[in-house]
Structure formats: C-alpha cells, structure tokens
C-alpha cells in the first residue's frame, strides 16, 4: 500500500498559493517585463522604416503587414494582455508594498539607485504615454478615418502622414522624448532585476546581463528617439 500523502495529486489551489506569494508575483512581473523588452526591440526595428526616405511606402506596407498577418495579430493581442498584466500587477504590488510601512520616516533611507526606487512612477509615466500613443496611432489606424495611398494598384492606409503630422508638433516630440527617458530608467533597473527575480545570478553571467541591460536600455531609447527628432527637424 502506498502512502496517501505521497501518492495523491494536489487540487489546483497550489497555483493560487504560488502566484499569490511574494516570489510568485515577482515572477509575473519578471516574465511579462522580459516579454515586453522583446516587443520593444521589434517595435523599434519596425519604426526605423520611417527613415527610409521613400515617402513612407515601406512603413505603410509594414503597418499593413503587422495588422493583417494572422500570427502577428495573435501575438499583438497577447502583447496587449501582457502590458495590462504588467501594469495592473505592478500597481497592485506597489500599493501592497506601501501598506507594509504605515508610519513613514521623517528622513527616508536611500542606499539604492533612483530608478530602482521609482519604478512605479516611471511605469505610470510609460502607461500614460501608451494611452496617448495608442489613441493617436493605433486607434486612428484601426478605427479612425485615414488618408489613403496607392502603391502598385493596391490601397494602403497612410499611417506615415499621421506620424509625420504628429512629429511636426514640438510638444508632441517633447512628450515622446520625456516618456522615452522614463522608459530608459525603467529598463535600467527592470532588465537586470528581472533576471535576479528568476534566480539567475551567476558570477560568470551576471556581468554579461548587466552589460546587455545597459546597451539595451540606451540603444532601444535612442532607436525610438531617432524618428521623432529626425522628422521634426525635417531630416
């Protein structure tokens, strides 16, 4: 006879216990964050087509492909969901962590980088940016009335002209750049923190992760800043 303690499978409650634990909730932040890093890289590469100098043809064709190719559409819905999960779990964790100190210090201990202490506020700036950004480009493209262009007898929505219009306004470019700085600081802490949360700290690999984190955080931000600055200056 086998021992029932050793043999019986668990009810699914263990999943709730795991994802409710402080390490389990960090795991959610870590994995969604790393996925969103990948998304940033793809988005940034796509944007580089704005600079081709072909009147926006490559960019418009790219936008069409991204919104009409089924596998990409599925991935984009996954991305929307993971952005929301990362934002909601992040804010919920920040509120819970605040409650862990009901009586505040007169002089606050620091001892940590500015970015690491301000991840929530940086995240909220990025979330606000996303709302404006999605409304102007994504919502307009999907549901708004768009100017059209024809390449080789096929009609395309002219997203390029909308982007060009937006980036001709100084305040829009400034808003863009401020949000990118917030994103940069968010990534500087978040990238390496995500690996630590996964338990991936190693004498050999942590220095490599740290260098990739710096290069990624600054590289992605420069890549995103290129188009608004170049288009505003009419380059």
């Amino acid at each position: 006879m086998s021992n029932p303690i050793a043999a019986n499978p668990y009810s699914l409650k263990w999943l709730g216990h795991f994802f409710g634990s402080s390490v389990g909730r960090k795991l959610i932040m870590s994995l969604t964050g790393l996925f969103l890093c990948l998304f940033l890289l793809v988005h940034m590469s796509g944007n580089l087509q704005l600079l081709k100098g072909d009147g926006g043809r490559a960019f418009n064709e790219y936008a069409y492909f991204m919104t009409h190719f089924a596998p990409i559409k599925i991935v984009s819905y996954v991305t929307y969901f993971l952005i929301l999960l990362h934002a909601i779990d992040g804010i919920a964790l920040a509120l819970k962590n605040r409650q862990a100190r009901p009586s505040k210090y007169a002089v606050n201990p620091t001892g940590a980088t500015w970015a690491s202490r301000n991840m929530t506020i940086l995240g909220i700036v990025i979330l606000l940016f996303l709302v404006v950004h999605l409304k102007n480009f994504w919502f307009a493209y999907k549901f708004g009335t768009m100017p059209m262009v024809t390449y080789d007898g096929k009609e395309y929505k002219d997203l390029y002209s909308i982007v060009k219009e937006a980036f001709s306004q100084w305040w829009y470019v400034a808003f863009y750049l401020i949000s990118l700085v917030a994103l940069c600081f968010h990534l500087l802490h978040g990238f390496q923190s995500a690996f630590r949360t996964l338990g991936l700290e190693h004498k050999k690999y942590t220095p490599i992760i740290s260098i990739i984190g710096w290069v990624f955080s600054i590289g992605v931000i420069l890549g995103f800043a290129l188009q608004p600055v170049a288009m505003f200056l009419g380059l």
């Binding site: 263990w14 634990s21 402080s22 909730r25 862990a100 100190r101 007169a106 690491s116 700290e201």
Partner: protein, 251 residues
C-alpha cells in the same frame, strides 16, 4: 561634543507618536551611539522625565538587538556597522541627529525606539532549522563540504537578524533576512534534505507577517551591518521557484 537630538517618542503601538528635541552636551567622541543615548537617559531621569526606550544587549555588534534609523540610515551612516559600534567621532560637533525606530507594519513599536521583531522568530520557526539532532562535533571529513560553499554558507550565517534590511527597504521587505537564513542551510549538506519544504514554508511565513515584496533595489545590502549580499535573494528566488514549480512539495 554637543548635539541636538530629535528623538521619536511613542508610548505604544496604538499611539501616533511624535518627535521630541533634546540638547545634549558633554558627549565624548569615543562614546558609542548607545552610550550617548545612556547619557541622554541619565539627563532625562535627573529631570524626572521618561527615559527613551531602545533595544540593546551585547554592545559588541553581534547580537542584533540595536535598531535605530539615524538621519535616515539604519544603524547610522557608517558602512557594515551596528548602532552600538557607531561612535560619536563619526559625527560633527553641533550636529542635529534624527533618531527613528525601524518602521514597518510587521515590526510594531513597543515603545519609542524599541520594536517587536517577533515576525523574524515566526519566519525562523517556519523552517530555519534542521530537524535532526546533530550531536557532538562529527569527524572533520565525514561529510565533505567544498570550501567555496562553506564560505558562502558562513557569509549568509553572519546575519544577526537585526531587521535593518526591513528598515532600509522601501517595501519593508524582509527578503535579505529570509534569503540569508534559507541560503545558509541550503548550501550545506546538513540542510539539503529539507531545503524545498523549508523555503516554501519560510516564504509563506514572511508574507503572512505583512512584509512587502522585494524589488531588487539593493538598499538592504547597502545598510546590512554584516554585509549580507543580495546574491542570497537571487538564491532564495531560485530555491523557491524550483521547490514550488519543479518538485512535488506542497505550496
């Protein structure tokens, strides 16, 4: 030396608490911070006032009882030092010093600067031990332990459980304490048989005590009087994730 002290006074956990300002002269520069507090209390007693309650025991930097946030620095601004080993010569004559207790929901104030750190005891009771009698000292090479693991385990075992990591953390997380205790046992052969069960129940006790969760800021490491590294927190995460997801241990 002369000092102006702004000291947190609080009658009990229910009291809202407030700062009171005291002037102190005739402090010698080779006094420890706690000796300076003794001088203050002597002065208060002579004035027939209530002395300031604060925790202390060994005054040798090894018991983990002293607990004061001094000018926003848990255990003061000197690195890897407990409050009792902080000397007045590291302050400037005439300084104003703000003294607060560890502030965390899981560490309710008993009185003034003394807080109740039973939450740490609960975490230890949840798994910070080995369940077999170890008996007397075994033969040196009966259980081989690689030197690097022995060193890492000893570094983790240096934790004196003072709670400065919780005081320093913006989330009031006790992950550095927890990870030091989990690491010190998990790295050694004697702690291995129970390592999965241990990490799961200790994380549970940590969360139930009302500590926040870790965001890897590193403030704990910066203020730890024993220099415990946050590498231990990564090890704790690794231990917990593998125990919870890859083993059959109950979560």
């Amino acid at each position: 030396m002369k000092f102006t002290l702004k000291v947190w006074r609080q009658n009990n956990a229910q009291d809202a608490g407030r700062f009171e300002t005291y002037s102190l002269s005739d402090v010698e520069n080779d006094m420890s911070f706690l000796e300076m507090m003794d001088v203050l209390n002597q002065q208060l007693i002579k004035e027939k006032k209530d002395p300031v309650a604060f925790d202390h025991d060994c005054r040798e930097g090894i018991c983990g009882m002293c607990s004061m946030v001094i000018n926003g620095h848990p255990h003061g601004h000197v690195k890897a030092t407990t409050t009792c080993q902080l000397h007045m010569r590291s302050f400037k004559d005439g300084d104003t010093i703000v003294i607060e207790p560890w502030r965390a929901k899981a560490f309710p104030v008993i009185k003034d600067l003394a807080v109740d750190r039973s939450a740490f005891d609960n975490i230890i009771q949840a798994g910070g031990y080995v369940s077999v009698n170890t008996g007397s000292a075994p033969d040196a090479n009966a259980v081989p332990v690689p030197q690097d693991l022995a060193e890492k385990a000893m570094d983790a075992a240096e934790c004196i459980g003072c709670g400065a990591c919780v005081a320093a953390c913006k989330n009031s997380s006790a992950m550095l304490f927890l990870s030091a205790k989990v690491s010190h046992l998990a790295l050694l052969p004697q702690g291995k048989p129970e390592h999965k069960k241990r990490v799961i129940s200790m994380v549970k006790a940590h969360d139930e005590a009302g500590f926040g969760s870790c965001t890897n800021t590193g403030a704990c490491e910066a203020y730890c009087p024993k220099g415990i590294s946050i590498t231990n927190i990564a090890r704790l995460n690794r231990e917990y994730l593998t125990a919870a997801l890859a083993s059959e241990e109950a979560v």
